[in-house]
């Protein structure tokens, strides 16, 4: 595009005027349409035009004016080139690497849950969020890390804001990791409950991955492509055979698991998988899930563009008032934490300060990789939103509302949902279940099954028609479960190292990560932490997602807030404060969202939202010896109250971490303002400073 720009400036401006007009018209159609269903193509065009304009103008402004990237400045890849970690890499190859690292389950789940308010609020937040917050964060963190030898976020916070701030940020990262693992595992449980087909296919991934692990480690060393093709064929065979399993009663019973069983199985799996050698299970499955993920995203994009489905969900539903069944809370602040990944994801700050900055060839590529990579992720979120809104709204609410609200039979569910104004018949609900090869689709919260139905709806229009819906549905479930379980395995290890690091600062011998005893204790602690929240979510009659997803959203946006506070601080220290509004704007918004949401989760008077209010209701009943549904006895009553206090403490920790980082940020900025010098700790700018960094 830049080549086009330079060779023909007049044609270039005409082209951009066209993009602006097209984008405005599409966005107008998306935003102003009422009553009639619109084609998904409008949403796609509106999004793509927004991305093009943002990338061409805003991202360029950030690169040239705010950060003043210097194409002549040697990058860490050039200065430390070792052929391994630090390798100057072609920008498109690196873009692929970076995108594969940031794209995960998050952008697929959040938008699906947010669809209860209609497609419009989610769309607007995804677009505005990515342009002004998410992509800005990713790009600036990548820039900062590139100028600091590829240092991690934690290291940069320590260097720029002090060791205490660094320590607090580390605790914040550990908390988000625990909640992330619990909520992702819960998504898998919700998708596999009572589904022999899905459960069989997912269980089969374990031996397949082990086989592939042995293959690449010993038989045909490092033949990743061969391994992936064989693995893919085996996975598809397992997927096809899954149908036979579900249709053969004697086999089906073996894989027809309850939620509690699945939760314990995943917890046990997480423990075992995280102590096995990485090459045996984690690495091969990581390879398979990465390629499957990229392939499926491309397939979904092609499907949406070719099939051009109609959006059946209204633009805005009555649930913007906060009474929705999928998650509780009003549009502000809860929409903005429900959709984290895809709009702004704090987790990306860990990736942007990871392997990517060590491979950048030239600083002028930071815009493409940092900003452009996040735009791509945002497009994945838009596709997930489309997939969730092309299915009948009545079916959507049947799948995402907890059993405590819509009951457990199709008759009851259709009554309740039709009364909300989303007409749906019991036949439609049983028909959808049989189309996708399941016994029931009721209360399959967590996003994955809804996305799978939406994807099956779109992809069966592309290949195979209705007869293939069951296969597409389970393919989608398998693809999500595969990379979520990879995340569970890897995340358990990461959390283990963090726990060892934290406890090790009090009991030094525990820091030794080579020790088998430490390894086992650390892994056990790690799975216990997230397993606790997972199990709590599974037995929760409101579906668990109701409680856990907001906590995850708050923690992820909290991390984004921390990263953006660091970005702002560094801009002040660089003496680029004239442009600090670029990060101050999203920082302020994210802090407002996380702090409001955090406080409401604790203190909101409605027991649907506030943990303390909920604890009060159950505590009072308990004191009078009464048992309230969903609890079945007094013991369960006291467990509910206890969980409420745990969740309260967690929310308070998030709020505390955010406030502490805010104070550290303000102190550092005031210091930076008080001096006329540049005070930031960059390396590699001149020969002198590069030497100093190595000394």
């Amino acid at each position: 595009m830049t080549a086009l720009v330079r060779s023909n400036p007049k044609g270039h401006w005409a082209l951009w005027v066209l993009v602006v007009i097209l984008g405005t018209v599409s966005l107008g159609v998306v935003a102003l349409n009422r009553g009639e269903s619109i084609n998904a193509a409008w949403l796609v065009v509106a999004a793509v035009c927004t991305y093009l304009i943002a990338y061409r103008f805003y991202a360029l402004f950030i690169a040239e004016k705010v950060l003043r990237v210097d194409p002549a400045r040697p990058t860490p890849a050039q200065r430390h080139n070792d052929g391994l970690d630090y390798v100057p890499t072609n920008k498109y190859v690196l873009f692929g690497h970076h995108f594969a690292a940031i794209a995960g389950a998050g952008p697929l789940v959040g938008p699906v849950l947010a669809a209860q308010m209609g497609y419009l609020p989610g769309t607007l937040w995804i677009l505005a969020g990515v342009v002004f917050a998410g992509a800005v964060q990713d790009m600036i963190v990548l820039f900062m890390s590139t100028r600091r030898d590829g240092r991690s976020l934690g290291d940069m916070i320590r260097a720029e804001m002090g060791p205490v701030a660094g320590g607090i940020a580390l605790v914040g990262v550990l908390l988000i990791m625990i909640i992330l693992l619990a909520v992702l595992a819960l998504v898998v449980v919700k998708a596999l409950v009572g589904s022999p087909w899905g459960t069989f296919a997912v269980v089969a991934t374990i031996p397949i991955a082990m086989l592939m692990g042995i293959y690449t480690r010993f038989i045909r060393v490092g033949r990743i492509m061969e391994m992936s093709i064989i693995g893919f064929v085996l996975l598809m065979t397992a997927l096809l055979f899954g149908r036979t399993v579900s249709e053969t009663p004697s086999l089906a019973v073996l894989f027809d698991w309850k939620g509690e069983t699945l939760a314990l199985a995943i917890i046990g799996y997480g423990f075992v998988a995280s102590v096995l050698p990485v090459w045996l299970l984690l690495a091969p499955r990581d390879y398979l899930s990465t390629f499957l993920k990229i392939g499926t995203i491309c397939l979904l994009a092609i499907g949406i563009i070719v099939v051009q489905p109609e959006l059946k969900m209204p633009a805005v539903t009555k649930f913007v008032d906060g009474t929705g069944p999928v998650w509780a809370g009003s549009l502000f602040p809860f929409l903005f934490i429900t959709i984290a990944c895809g709009a702004v994801s704090g987790f990306h700050s860990l990736i942007s300060s990871g392997t990517t900055p060590k491979m950048i060839e030239n600083e002028d590529q930071i815009r493409l990789i940092g900003y452009g990579g996040m735009l791509m992720e945002s497009f994945v979120a838009i596709m997930a939103l489309i997939a969730a809104t092309v299915i009948e709204p009545g079916v959507y609410f049947a799948m995402n509302s907890p059993a405590g609200v819509i009951g457990t039979t199709v008759d009851k569910a259709s009554q309740v949902i039709s009364a909300w104004g989303f007409l749906v018949t019991p036949e439609m609900l049983s028909q959808m279940a049989s189309d996708v090869g399941e016994h029931t689709i009721l209360s399959r919260a967590g996003g994955a099954p809804t996305l799978a139905v939406g994807m099956a709806h779109i992809l069966s229009g592309l290949i195979g028609g209705k007869a293939m819906m069951g296969l597409w549905y389970h393919f989608a479930i398998l693809f999500e479960a595969l990379f979520i379980l990879t995340t569970v395995d890897a995340g358990t290890r990461v959390a283990r190292f963090m726990i060892q690091d934290l406890i090790g600062s009090v009991i030094p011998p525990f820091k030794n990560t080579e020790s088998w005893v430490n390894n086992l204790i650390g892994s056990a602690l790690s799975v216990t932490c997230w397993g606790y929240f997972l199990y709590q979510g599974v037995v929760d009659p409101l579906g668990g997602i109701n409680t856990l997803w907001p906590l995850f959203g708050i923690s992820n946006q909290m991390l984004a807030g921390i990263a953006l506070i660091l970005c702002t601080t560094v801009l002040f220290k660089m003496k680029h404060e004239r442009y600090a509004w670029v990060t101050l704007l999203p920082t302020t918004w994210l802090l407002a969202c996380t702090l409001t949401a955090g406080m409401q989760k604790i203190f909101h008077p409605s027991p649907r939202i506030g943990f303390l209010a909920h604890a009060q209701v159950f505590g009072d009943a308990l004191a009078q010896g009464k048992v309230l549904a969903p609890a079945k006895n007094l013991e369960e009553m006291s467990r509910i109250v206890f969980n409420d206090y745990i969740n309260t403490a967690l929310s308070a920790a998030f709020v505390g971490v955010v406030l502490a980082m805010l104070v550290f940020g303000i102190v550092s900025i005031r210091k930076a303002l008080a001096t006329s010098r540049v005070t930031t700790a960059e390396v590699g700018g001149s020969v002198g400073s590069a030497r100093a960094a190595h000394a």
Partner: protein, 70 residues
């Protein structure tokens, strides 16, 4: 020996390179070239050693290994 496609950089070659780097394995030819130029005479890992080293490094979470996103 590298997998086919990585040394001939047609479109397929770039695609293979991208796919391999997505799972944390950088280009082996580049590594060999780098060793020859900057460390002449010093040992160069075979492809099998190179692959294992990269695989272990990607998942060495305690020592700079990198976790993917949510």
């Amino acid at each position: 020996m590298p997998e086919p496609g990585t040394s001939t950089l047609g479109l397929a070659g770039w695609a293979v390179r991208t796919a391999r780097l997505m799972v944390g394995v950088p280009d082996y030819d580049t590594y060999v070239e780098h060793r020859k130029v900057t460390h002449p005479g010093e040992p160069v890992m075979t492809y099998a050693e190179f692959f294992r080293e990269r695989q272990d490094a990607r998942y060495a979470f305690g020592k700079g290994g990198r976790f993917r996103c949510c």
